[in-house]
């Protein structure tokens, strides 16, 4: 599974992308992934402490914590967008 980070989230975590071996032995959701990332501590714990300011997309589609995940998915975490 590919995880992508953008904007200040990427700055805090220190990288824009990483591959995660996410065991999908039982049905998993974005919530489970966030829980896994938080357990790493450090900047991950800091970033995901307050998820109110974070959006998530799975395979280029906006998602929520309840969205199920499957092997090979691409998950992106980013702040509310500021285009235009």
């Amino acid at each position: 599974m590919v995880i992508k980070y953008f904007a200040w989230i990427r700055d805090q975590i220190g990288k824009g992308e990483e591959i995660i071996e996410f065991e999908v032995s039982k049905p998993a959701t974005v919530y489970d992934l966030i829980h896994l990332l938080k357990k790493r501590g450090g900047p991950y714990a800091k970033v995901f402490t307050d998820t109110a300011g974070i959006k998530v997309a799975v395979n280029h589609v906006y998602a929520t914590q309840k969205t199920p995940l499957h092997a090979g998915d691409e998950v992106a975490f980013f702040p509310p967008v500021t285009g235009g």
Partner: protein
């Protein structure tokens, strides 16, 4: 039609392309977004910017904009839609985004143009970082006003809360 690119674009050239795709149209509506030259600090102090860096999410950005364009065609009778959005380094007063629509009637052209820029601002994955002349940088925050303008249209792709 939407193009994402790093280099600066010429508004007249883009407008020409829109006209060429708009045979039979009765009206053309365009919006160009420019980079403001200052960073606004609370208390109304304006600090000068050296540049702005725009990040995007290749793949998703195009997806979202395509969905907005598709919705615009559903709501209004449009002849053509022509959009350009830059990413990378932008200099003060340079154009960032061009949204142009054409239709038989001006109501449709105006409304679709407004719909596209309002929704692009809070739903298309771009992030702006301001690079001040004093050396500091600042990730622009999504504005409440922009969110309200998007809500008005009732076409929400983004999810409210993680």
């Amino acid at each position: 039609m939407m193009r994402l690119q790093k280099p600066i674009f010429d508004q007249a050239t883009e407008y020409d392309q829109l006209i060429k795709a708009s045979t039979g149209a009765g009206g053309i509506s365009v919006f160009t977004g420019l980079m403001r030259p200052t960073h606004l600090v609370e208390g109304e102090q304006h600090l000068p910017l050296a540049s702005m860096t725009i990040e995007h999410y290749p793949g998703m950005t195009e997806n979202v904009i395509a969905q907005l364009e598709s919705e615009a065609h559903k709501r209004w009778f449009l002849k053509a839609v022509h959009m350009v959005h830059r990413y990378g380094e932008i200099l003060p007063q340079e154009p960032i985004v061009f949204v142009g629509t054409s239709a038989q009637h001006r109501d449709d052209a105006f409304a679709a143009c407004r719909f596209l820029i309002d929704n692009l601002k809070t739903q298309a994955p771009f992030w702006k970082k301001e690079n001040l002349t004093n050396g500091t940088t600042y990730w622009v925050k999504q504005s409440t006003k922009d969110r309200e303008l998007t809500k008005k249209w009732g076409f929400i792709l983004e999810t409210p809360r993680l």
